[in-house]
């Protein structure tokens, strides 16, 4: 494990417990967001990673090495650090600010210059800025420099403490894009503290929800939206966001038709044809007696083979494409559409047939995704009404 935190506790003198039994494993390249209200211990926990704070008990290991065995100054030079108030040195040029850690590490001058140029290019600012002072840059530009300052010495772990909290929404969004892009491109491991759920959902690969010094939930953004661990997490996400998130977290099981025309392989083709006729469909799914999906059969198969074969099992196709009922529509809809199937059988975890997704149902989903927001806006005067509408929408499908 790249970064592991075990049984961390932090108690301040006077008995105030800031962090309680915090356990977390972080893989290289993960984007971890610590989220919680103020006083939840998220910043405290983060600051223990570069030993800005000392835990009362518990261990933090980076690449297997206990950081309490490392020199704190050397440790901090290996860990990028971005703070809310940006903290650029006002008496140093942008160049000096960017190369601050390399200078502490005594890099040769030309390597530092080279790095300063690379870094400023990385955040899409002109090279002329290198010789300016922080006060001559806008807040957003300053924080861009703040971000690359934390990357300039090839730090593998970057700690970010509400870095965009003080920026306006538009600047914040562009910086979020930037850090996400940099993180993915450079494979950095980021620990990002925020109290903004939107930010966490956008950026994180793993969200750590904290309250009162304890971990409430550790999960991916999708899991958090689908299965908030408790009421606190639900409230933190917010009702509105849960409703909005619904299209993207709808499972196949929620949109499938449950009344499926199916037949067992031992039946005669004659019977299959009759079933099709009665149900007004042109294909049948084949299951065994236990309901396990075996294959499918459509009207053309019957037409060609009516004379030679007798039972459904002789002519059915067993290379049937199916989806699981608990998979996300968002993840499957594209596959379904690309393959050009009219209907897709839906199975449960035991491969038992539970329903079918038709192209018509997919049209509904695409429609909801594109226009659903507008519909909701009209309803949103009354949140209760919106909730009900969404619930009914789910049931109807």
């Amino acid at each position: 494990m790249f970064l592991s935190m075990e049984h961390l506790n932090k108690t301040y003198p006077g008995g105030k417990v800031a962090v309680e039994d915090f356990n977390l494993e972080v893989e290289k390249g993960e984007f971890v967001c610590f989220i919680g209200t103020s006083g939840s211990g998220k910043t405290t926990t983060m600051r223990m990673i570069n030993r800005m704070l000392q835990q009362t008990s518990g261990t933090i290991k980076i690449n297997g090495t206990d950081i309490s065995q490392m020199n704190p100054v050397e440790l901090r030079r290996k860990i990028g650090y971005v703070i809310q108030n940006i903290g650029l040195m006002p008496h140093m040029t942008i160049r000096q600010n960017i190369t601050l850690v390399p200078r502490l590490l005594k890099w040769p001058q030309d390597k530092m210059n080279q790095r300063a140029k690379e870094m400023i290019k990385l955040v899409d600012l002109p090279e002329e800025f290198l010789d300016r002072y922080p006060s001559e840059l806008s807040g957003g530009q300053q924080q861009r420099i703040g971000v690359v300052r934390a990357l300039a010495a090839d730090q593998d772990i970057i700690l970010m403490d509400e870095p965009y909290g003080a920026l306006d929404p538009i600047t914040r969004e562009s910086l979020q894009d930037l850090i996400k892009d940099l993180q993915e491109r450079l494979g950095k491991t980021i620990i990002f503290v925020t109290h903004d759920m939107d930010e966490a959902l956008t950026l994180a690969t793993k969200i750590v929800v904290m309250d009162g010094g304890k971990i409430m939930q550790v999960a991916s953004p999708d899991e958090i939206l689908q299965h908030p661990a408790n009421e606190f997490v639900e409230n933190l996400i917010g009702k509105d966001r849960l409703i909005q998130a619904r299209p993207s977290i709808t499972t196949v099981g929620q949109v499938m038709l449950k009344n499926v025309a199916s037949i067992t392989p031992d039946r005669l083709l004659k019977e299959a044809l009759k079933t099709m006729h009665d149900r007004r469909v042109d294909s049948l799914l084949v299951t065994d007696d236990g309901g396990t999906l075996k294959g499918y059969l459509d009207i053309e198969d019957i037409d060609y083979n009516f004379k030679t074969a007798t039972s459904v099992g002789d002519v059915m196709h067993d290379d049937v494409f199916y989806v699981k009922s608990d998979s996300l529509v968002r993840d499957t809809v594209e596959r379904i559409l690309k393959r050009g199937f009219k209907n897709i059988p839906v199975v449960d975890n035991d491969k038992k047939l539970v329903g079918i997704v038709t192209r018509a149902a997919l049209v509904d989903i695409v429609y909801d995704a594109l226009w659903g927001d507008d519909d909701k806006k009209t309803d949103s005067e009354d949140t209760q009404a919106a909730t009900t509408a969404a619930d009914q929408g789910g049931d109807a499908q």
Partner: protein
């Protein structure tokens, strides 16, 4: 005026030099002692209050009384004068150094530490440069005090421009009083102006001009 200079010109130069010598050494010692102490105090907040209270208390001792106190310890002459003026120079420098260092934006100190600066690097590369204007204004204030009070040092036989003033007072000679006072004022103004230049030079640039 010309007459005064013709008669007292040479002693005036000598006394002025003495005056500069006494105040210069006192102030120099004050800077050497109070600036590092002020910096050190920012690392121990609790001690800081005690030390600054003591320095404030010393400041309230009347100048003449302090000079008189020096006589039993150091006798008369230049040495006790320098010690007394040194004590006076401490408080403004100490307090301004402490305040200047403490007022450096905490997020800058946090950033400096978090990026891996040692305590010493943070002081030298971040805190002192940013506190320089405040520290310098403390030094300028001290310089003005020390130059003015150095005139009293003549009272315990240290010499300096105070000799003219005290002689004038004893002999009811206005020209001697003025002849001593005006150079003191001019000296204080010139030194303050020079230190202003130093302050400007030490104030770090924060923008391209």
């Amino acid at each position: 005026m010309m007459h005064f200079l013709a008669v007292y010109g040479l002693p005036l130069v000598g006394k002025t030099w003495q005056h500069i010598y006494i105040s210069g050494i006192s102030l120099g010692l004050g800077v050497i002692f109070a600036v590092p102490l002020g910096i050190a105090l920012t690392r121990t907040k609790r001690t800081a209050n005690i030390v600054i209270s003591i320095a404030s208390m010393l400041q309230t001792i009347p100048a003449l009384a302090l000079l008189a106190f020096m006589i039993p310890i150091f006798g008369i002459g230049v040495k006790p004068a320098i010690v007394a003026l040194f004590i006076y120079s401490l408080l403004p420098i100490l307090r301004n150094t402490y305040i200047g260092m403490s007022d450096v934006d905490p997020s800058l100190k946090d950033a400096a530490k978090g990026m891996g600066m040692t305590n010493w690097q943070s002081i030298i590369k971040v805190e002192v440069p940013l506190a320089a204007p405040v520290i310098m204004s403390g030094i300028r204030l001290s310089a003005t005090y020390v130059i003015a009070w150095a005139a009293l040092a003549s009272y315990i036989g240290a010499g300096g421009l105070g000799d003219f003033i005290f002689n004038g007072l004893n002999l009811y000679r206005t020209d001697l009083i003025l002849g001593g006072s005006i150079p003191v004022i001019v000296l204080a103004l010139v030194v303050d102006w020079l230190l202003g230049k130093v302050e400007a030079a030490l104030t770090p640039r924060t923008s391209e001009e």
